[in-house]
């Protein structure tokens, strides 16, 4: 098995849970009992399938784990009236980005030194590296508004390296807006994550596309990865589903319900309008981009039965790659190789997860029962996340939860528990996070979008109810 970038430690699945529990136990003894129960449940559920588990490690375990990182509040460098507002936005966003990255042990803001160093000469690293902060790394800098420009100088220091502490310095210069203060914080956070995670770029600048209900319709919306900046992309007045952003962030493929049923639509983010996509007949839905951006796989019933077809991004050069009676839908490419497709098929009854080569050969069934839907392939090609109700059936109390399966071994772990119905997991570009839709009471219209780390920790809601089908951008 190829090692992830710069992996410094390998943590097996069980150890992830155990270390997580240990960490929380230290912080919050009252919750220990609940968590211990939870973790035994995870182990029980996974134990039967994860026999002889030795190398099942997720992306959270790549790179240096749990670096103790302190983020200082930035120092205001000008007296402009907006400086303190933007600085507040910047400080909050930076801390949230670094906390959400999943690879840092962030020093609480209540433990950091009172000083706000604005430059390399102003920082006293001993203050930061000693208790209670005990930081290994410190991010700091200054921020000011000058002539309607937002100017930010950011630094990252290795607190233990007294002779040459600076890891990097960055200057940002943007039009002074609150949104730019957030975007600059994202970029600075991504730079820190990139340097400290062993070369995997951060995701603070990535976007999530999703479906939002309103007035009986469903439109395609976009937001930042942290739930900020939510805004509509389409205004079609139709029911639009399954947004899929192209690898180069230029187009969104989705499907909308029209006179002839669901059809693939293509929206150009560069032109701000729909562009042509040829439809040949039947119902066409659930598009998926190949990692090259040159091909689109989707479900089409143009021959009467829903099968997986592949076309170019204009809908031309169509060819069918499945041929089996029953529903075939929800393809997702292996983004690492572009040579495999996972999808959902009802060919034997309830929908199951399958994989095949992208030419349709080598069909392999991955799930052994239940009701499996909505696969998303991890960026490193090793895992597939999907929604699964393992005890599906009339009267069965089964819940639909998010799972991760290792493709090579078909071993899986369950990431969500007892939180209602979960669906549409979508992998983040760094492979460390999963966005998904969750309805606490199981009712469709109550779905909201959440994210979590791939070991199931750090769950948080990004949107209000009435949102569904998240799709994380490729970068």
């Amino acid at each position: 098995m190829p090692k992830p970038f710069g992996s410094t430690s390998e943590i097996i699945g069980e150890e992830i849970v155990n270390s997580f529990v240990r960490r929380l136990r230290a912080r919050n003894p009252q919750r220990w009992v609940t968590l211990s129960l939870l973790s035994s449940l995870v182990l029980l559920l996974s134990g039967s399938t994860l026999r002889a588990q030795d190398t099942f490690h997720l992306e959270t375990s790549s790179g240096a784990t749990s670096i103790r990182l302190a983020a200082a509040n930035f120092k205001p460098s000008t007296g402009d009236a907006n400086t303190s507002t933007f600085k507040n936005t910047f400080d909050t966003t930076l801390f949230a980005d670094l906390s959400a990255a999943g690879i840092f042990d962030m020093v609480s803001k209540s433990l950091i030194p009172q000083s706000t160093p604005g430059s390399q000469s102003e920082i006293s690293l001993a203050q930061w590296s000693s208790a209670p902060a005990s930081a290994a790394m410190v991010a700091f800098g200054n921020l000011g508004v000058q002539n309607n420009r937002l100017i930010v100088n950011g630094f990252l220091d290795d607190a233990k390296n007294t002779q040459y502490p600076q890891v990097f310095a960055k200057q940002y210069n943007e039009i002074a807006t609150d949104d730019n203060a957030r975007q600059v914080a994202h970029r600075f956070a991504d730079e820190i994550i990139f340097r400290l995670s062993g070369g995997t770029p951060g995701i603070a600048e990535s976007k999530i596309f999703y479906v939002k209900r309103g007035g009986g319709n469903k439109e395609i919306w976009e937001m930042d990865y942290d739930g900020a900046n939510q805004h509509a992309i389409t205004h079609l007045g139709e029911i639009s589903l399954s947004p899929r952003i192209s690898p180069d962030n230029s187009r969104i493929a989705f499907s909308s319900l029209g006179r002839n049923g669901f059809q693939i639509k293509m929206f150009s983010l560069l032109l701000g309008r729909l562009v042509n996509f040829n439809s040949v007949g039947g119902t066409n839905l659930s598009p998926a981009w190949s990692p090259s951006g040159q091909q689109l796989a989707f479900s089409s019933s143009r021959t009467g039965d829903p099968e997986i077809w592949v076309t170019d991004p204009q809908g031309n050069v169509a060819h069918r790659i499945t041929n089996y009676k029953g529903p075939d839908v929800s393809p997702t490419w292996n983004p690492k190789t572009g040579a495999q497709i996972a999808w959902i098929s009802g060919r034997t009854g309830l929908p199951q997860l399958y994989i095949m080569d992208s030419d349709g050969s080598g069909v392999t069934r991955m799930t052994d029962g239940g009701y499996a839907t909505s696969p998303s392939w991890s960026p490193n090609g090793q895992f597939i996340t999907f929604a699964w109700d393992r005890k599906y059936g009339p009267g069965a109390p089964g819940g639909q939860d998010i799972y991760v399966m290792e493709v090579a071994t078909k071993r899986w772990i369950q990431l969500t528990h007892d939180m209602g119905r979960c669906d549409f997991p979508s992998w983040s570009p760094d492979g460390r996070h999963i966005a998904f839709a969750n309805s606490p009471d199981g009712i469709d219209s109550h779905n909201r979008i959440m994210t979590m780390l791939v070991d199931g920790t750090g769950k948080r809601a990004l949107t209000e109810s009435g949102t569904d089908m998240p799709n994380w951008s490729w970068k």
Binding site: L241, L257, G261, D305, P327, G346, S374, P394, D444
Partner: protein
Amino acid sequence: MIAHRTTFWNKAALVATLALLAASGCHKKQAAPPSSAMAPENNTPPPTASITADPPAIDLGQSVVLNWRTSNATSVSIDGIGEVPVNGTQTVSPSSSTNFHLVAKNDGGTTEANVRVTVRVPEVPAAPADNSGDMGSDAIFHAKVQDIFFGYDSFDLTPEADTSITAAAAYLNAHPAIKILIGGYCDDRGSAEYNITLGENRANAAKTALVSAGVAGDRIRVVSYGKEKQFCTEETESCWQQNRRGQFSIDR
């Protein structure tokens, strides 16, 4: 709409009855021996008489040829025409269905013969088979072409659905102008994308069955709504069952 439908079938029944009457009227000419022959005082035998109409049924405005034959009659009359020769033909153009009543007399007695001429007036439909151009009403359509329901996560037709499809095909074959939309629906459990393909399979199963029963495929439009358009939004089995349907409607 129901009233209209009742009238239609009453009229159809009426036409059928009249046709039967006309046929038996024709038949009477063979049964020549008059039933009303009276026992004569003298030895003169009573006349014989028969009358036919060709054709026995006409559309309003068309004419029909009456043809009568008698023997031994001294006077012959037909109601509505008056005295006529003992044998003869006459072209008539009645405005409504008419009984032509012939009376032949001689000293020996009186013999009667009847023929019924049926006149088809335009407000009576000619025959149920001739409906080209008629899209029919929604009420009749939904009575004849009923929605079908599916089992859990299934797109196989149930025996009940087969029965519905057979009845639907009979109606649609008799009304070739009707185009139909088959909507595939699913209950709101399960995943949105998968349910659209399941609904597609359901609608296509209904289409395939109709095509097998002789309904032309190009009359049928199939749309799968998945679980995006629910009939019923409660979380109960009866509600879910209502949502797992193939719905037929006239595609206008």
